[in-house]
């Protein structure tokens, strides 16, 4: 076994189960239970990446999800490569390929490291100050160069082959974090019988207990207590224990999002989903999210081999790995002493440097000296030696004023540093709780809650083990409504530290490279510069220097950055405040967020019962609202233009068949149905005879057109209402709103029947002849069944509501049949039409034919600011009606004022020129810019039946301009047009009554 830095015993690993993965092509052997970081360290590999901006050699700083530096690309097979994985949280397993990032040509020899020598140039705000002139360089030079240099890692190029799941869950108590506080909380809540979910981001629940080798709880070793706690939780039916699950977002009303990683750690994942998004709605939430250790800020504090002190302890105790053989701990607090004792116990050479004076230290000092460890109190760290690996630490005595004494070099191959602790208040802050500053522990801690939530343990600034357990227990009990409280005994925890922002130094400030934000390469100097340049708000300093803006969101760096800003501004931390904590707590894959909503489920479409027929007959489709509709039916070699010209001719000369099933349909039923219709539409309905239809126009209360459609009176108390395809849901909602909230006294029922009735439109002079043999129980003669009539009967033996209506200007029928029978009826009608040359047509031909007749389409000729009079339909308003929705607004001053845009037809001087829809219209193209716009083109087509282009437009006072000339913008300049009536074909409307 290689692994020269693997300790011979200890750790929660299985030395009998080796795992092999590669790092930059080299095989690395670890053991079961390792993280990629611990396996690399076991093999003495510290240099694992290059930094973002200066390409400095970087190693592993931390053991947890706060790791800023050790970012690797992880390749799990084809299409399964992810950049920016933290080596400390990726579980080592057979077959993984890991790669370091941000270097060329290699990790060892990186050309980009020149940036480090140029660092005086790359100061805070470098981009803002540098890439300003000349302007033409923005797009062509600066942007491509910066883009190429920016970012860490490479995004995967292939589609993600993995499957992702999504689950909604409810529980009385959600506990986030399964360290001592979280476990105590979950146990207390679970014992009440309430439903409990306990989520922990690690592969193994336990938190700090996983590396707590010396402490005892209730007289037993901590690991034994942990086993007991997990066994109890596991045995309870009311508990869901989720390891490898990060609570990344805390939203309104205790809606918490969890990302569960299911298969990444398995060599053979099988068919299970890779990750699962849990959307948990919890009655109460207990946040036991722990705390993060702060690095010390001194020159070259980023050298590989320099770790957080507690992380050294984790690698030793949990993974059985020595991050070095000769370790110097540098600290301003007590917790690092525990790490030093454990390192000594593992047989390593250990010394400790403490910034605190002798009398500031607690019992830890005596304990360490008794263990034979050299302790230098009142010492600062001047800087680190070494390049790709730390080789020594330069220290010097420093008094409280920061004056430094004689330097001394402490040779070492590993440094464990500790600048104190920061409670992980991210989720609390996301829940909109208010933070309070607690001076005794130099930390922002949860203050006033905004939701049903409570924090416990280190997340609340409580670091003593027994206190964490008690606090967790109390939180879990309170969250589940229990008055019971347990008492815990545990070994005392060494806590307390002196807050330090940047370590005192006597070095030339210009030469000090003391990193605050390791991931974004922000130094103490950068933050100082930002303050000198006038940035006062911490949010501005953050954005200007980019401190805290990397993928780790400054978990290790924020407090140091805040402290430096406060120091430079000579103010206190609470008055500087914190930046905003936003989800996600740690990066979440897009796959988890998207879940199953991919491919056909990404944006589901609606199809009609005739869809498959259209597809098999070569239709090209377009999306209309949520529907997919047949756009046109090209024959071999036909373009859109050819096909539409043929279809348009066929309808006017013979007969066409069109799938209008997407029309919205609403059945308005009840004794007060006619009165209800009367109040909602501008038209009169009370006297509409049974069996007759009317074109209905509906306004919003502001007087603008909302929707239109043909309505048939089926019975005295029953109307068959049609709406536009896109407006169906909107119209039903509009109707329901008025019915429920304004006129609850009306006895009316509204039912959407859009999906129940399929509609086959048969249009053209031969339409009657085609359906005559198929229809039963209806007299189709023009006298018995005139235009705008509706009859109930059968077609092909199927019940039908047969409408004689037309959106083409031709003799036409709309055959409503139950959807289940639609395809059979369609095929029968199509077969019956073959002798007449029946032609299926799509939405494009439908649009052209209606435009030839000047029929408006709501949403094309109207845009939410168009009144009935604007489109020439004021004649439909029932004058005798005292009121209807929108009537009062039709006499609003700006609605009756002159200058409103009115619907007109436009014909171009050049009959072959088809204007662009949306094109602007002016009267004098010679006028100075900015020109006065008179309106715009709303519809424009080539009209095969007119043999020229036609257009409709909304033009200011357009009706008065009839016969006059206007000019319309085109890509080639202005085109002259003549204003005409918008009915281009059969202006007398004779054909429709055939």
């Amino acid at each position: 076994m290689a692994q020269p830095f693997r300790l011979s015993r200890g750790g929660r690993i299985d030395r009998t189960r080796p795992v092999r993965f590669t790092f930059n092509g080299r095989t690395v052997e670890g053991v079961h239970g390792d993280s990629v970081a611990s396996a690399l360290l076991a093999n003495g590999i510290h240099l694992v990446g290059r930094s973002f901006k200066y390409h400095r050699p970087r190693g592993i700083l931390s053991h947890g999800s706060d790791e800023p530096s050790a970012l690797l690309s992880v390749d799990r097979g084809p299409g399964r490569i992810d950049p920016n994985n933290r080596a400390s949280v990726v579980e080592a397993r057979d077959g993984l390929k890991t790669l370091s990032q941000n270097h060329w040509p290699s990790l060892e020899h990186d050309i980009g490291a020149i940036n480090d020598l140029l660092s005086p140039v790359f100061v805070a705000g470098f981009y803002y100050k540098t890439f300003m002139w000349p302007k033409k360089f923005w797009d062509r030079v600066y942007e491509p160069v910066i883009r190429a240099a920016a970012g860490l890692g490479k995004a995967p190029a292939a589609p993600d082959p993995d499957r992702y799941a999504n689950r909604h869950a409810h529980c009385e108590v959600l506990v986030v974090g399964a360290g001592p506080a979280g476990l105590a909380a979950a146990l207390a809540a679970a014992r009440t019988g309430k439903r409990v979910i306990l989520a922990d981001e690690g592969p193994e629940p336990g938190g700090a207990l996983l590396h707590e080798t010396s402490a005892e709880i209730d007289g037993r070793p901590a690991a034994e207590w942990l086993d007991g706690a997990l066994a109890e939780l596991d045995s309870r039916e009311n508990v869901i224990l989720l390891p490898r699950t990060t609570a990344f977002g805390y939203y309104n009303h205790n809606h918490v999002a969890l990302a569960e990683r299911i298969t990444d750690h398995l060599p053979n994942p099988g068919t299970a989903p890779r990750e699962r998004l849990w959307q948990v709605r919890a009655g109460e939430v207990v946040l036991a999210t722990g705390s993060h250790e702060r690095p010390l800020v001194f020159s070259d504090n980023d050298r590989p081999g320099i770790l957080l002190a507690e992380s050294v302890r984790v690698f030793l105790n949990r993974y059985g790995v020595a991050p070095g053989r000769r370790i110097v701990f540098a600290t301003s607090g007590a917790s690092a002493y525990t790490a030093a004792l454990d390192a000594k116990g593992a047989g390593l050479a250990v010394s400790l440097v403490d910034l605190r004076a002798e009398d500031e230290c607690g019992p830890e000092l005596v304990e360490l000296r008794a263990a034979g460890i050299e302790v230098l109190t009142g010492h600062t760290v001047i800087g680190a030696k070494g390049g790709k690996r730390v080789t020594g630490l330069v220290v010097a005595p420093a008094d409280r004023a920061g004056r430094c004494g004689a330097h001394r070099l402490l040779p070492c191959d590993c440094v464990g540093m500790s600048g104190g602790w920061t409670p992980a208040v991210h989720l609390f802050s996301q829940s909109r709780g208010k933070l309070g500053y607690e001076a005794t522990i130099d930390a922002f801690v949860p203050g006033t809650s905004a939701q049903a939530e409570r924090s416990a343990g280190a997340a609340k600034g409580t670091y003593d083990l027994a206190a964490c357990l008690a606090e967790g227990d109390a939180a879990g009990a309170a969250a589940s409504g229990s008055a019971e409280r347990r008492r815990f005994t545990a070994s005392p925890t060494l806590t307390g530290f002196r807050p330090v922002r940047a370590m005192p130094t006597d070095a030339d400030p210009a030469k000090v490279r003391a990193f605050v934000d390791f991931q974004n390469d922000v130094t103490a100097k950068d933050i100082g510069l930002a303050v000198r340049e006038g940035f006062r708000s911490i949010e501005h300093v953050k954005r200007y220097t980019t401190t805290g803006m990397a993928t780790d969101q400054g978990k290790t760096s924020n407090m140091n950055a805040l402290g430096i800003v406060a120091g430079k501004l000579d103010t206190t931390l609470p008055s500087v405040g914190t930046t905003t904590f936003r989800p996600p707590y740690t990066p979440v894959t897009f796959g988890t967020l998207v879940g199953p909503a991919r491919h056909a489920l990404f944006d589901p479409i609606r199809t009609t019962p005739i869809h498959d027929w259209a597809e098999s007959h070569g239709a090209t489709f377009e999306n209309v609202a949520l529907w997919r509709r047949a756009w046109y039916f090209p024959k071999a070699g036909e373009t859109l233009h050819d096909a539409v010209a043929r279809e348009c001719k066929a309808v006017r000369e013979g007969v066409g068949i069109f799938d209008a099933s997407t029309l919205g349909k609403i059945e308005v039923v009840g004794p007060d149905a006619a009165e209800f219709m009367n109040r909602l539409y501008i038209n009169p309905w009370l006297k509409l005879e049974v069996g007759r239809c009317r074109y209905g126009l509906m306004l919003k209360e502001d007087g603008y057109i909302l929707d239109d459609g043909v309505v048939a009176r089926v019975a005295p108390d029953c109307f068959h209402v049609t709406t536009t395809t896109g407006g169906a849901a909107r119209v039903l909602a509009h109707m329901e709103d008025y019915l429920q909230t304004e006129w609850p006294d009306l006895r009316v029922f509204l039912t959407s029947t859009t999906e129940q009735w399929a509609v086959i439109a048969l249009q053209g002079p031969k339409a009657r002849a085609v359906i005559a043999p198929l229809v039963g129980g209806i007299d189709l003669s023009p006298e018995a069944f005139p235009h705008m009539a509706m009859r109930s009967g059968t077609i092909c033996g199927v019940p039908t509501r047969l409408f004689r209506v037309s959106f083409t200007g031709e003799l036409g029928f709309e055959i409503n049949v139950p959807s289940d029978h639609a395809l059979a009826v369609w095929e029968a009608v199509h077969a019956a039409g073959e002798p007449y040359g029946i032609t299926p047509y799509g939405t494009e031909t439908m649009h052209v034919l209606r435009a030839e007749k000047g029929y408006i389409i709501v949403g094309q000729e109207t845009d939410g600011t168009v009144t009935p009079d604007d489109v020439g339909l004021s004649g439909m308003i029932a004058k005798a009606k005292k009121d209807f929705v929108g009537k009062r607004s039709l006499v609003r001053p700006d609605v009756v004022a002159a200058g409103r845009k009115q619907l007109v037809g436009l014909v171009t001087d050049n009959p072959k020129l088809v204007l662009e829809e949306g094109a602007q219209i002016v009267d004098d193209p010679g006028q100075p810019i900015p020109m006065r716009m008179l309106g715009h083109v709303t519809s424009s087509y080539w009209s095969p039946n007119c043999g020229r282009s036609i257009a409709m437009a909304l033009v200011a006072d357009g009706r008065a301009l009839q016969g006059g000339s206007l000019h319309v913008t085109t890509p080639e300049g202005f085109a002259r047009v003549t204003v005409v009536d918008p009915v281009f074909f059969d202006p007398k409307g004779k054909r429709i009554h055939a």
Binding site: Y251, H253, D737, Q740, T741, D883, K887, R888
Partner: protein, 96 residues
């Protein structure tokens, strides 16, 4: 995501609902009798309080029914929901 108590269905997630703006604005019985200013006021002028707001909500993807709610616009806390046409039991002057 808000959790909203439909008076007819109970607690449901926000995505099932549609908000209809300020509540308790009755459509005038005779709009023609209103001056242009009064009509404009009815149509366009809405309260935008920092604090408790009476709102119309529709359980669009549930029972389809409109109801009213008192919501604190600062905390997003709902004080109560109640059927359309009813009056709230809380005052809208308080902060949730």
């Amino acid at each position: 995501m808000l959790l909203i108590a439909c008076p007819h269905c109970g607690n449901r997630p926000e995505t099932e609902f549609r908000c209809g703006g300020q509540a308790h604005i009755a459509r005038p019985a005779d709009p023609a009798a209103l001056s242009d200013e009064q009509w404009a006021e009815h149509l366009f002028v809405r309260a935008n309080p920092r604090g408790v707001h009476a709102e119309r909500w529709c359980h669009a993807h549930g029972c389809g029914r409109w109801f009213n709610a008192l919501r604190d616009t600062v905390s997003d806390r709902f004080l109560e929901t109640y059927p359309a046409g009813a009056q709230p039991s809380h005052s809208t002057d308080v902060r949730a």
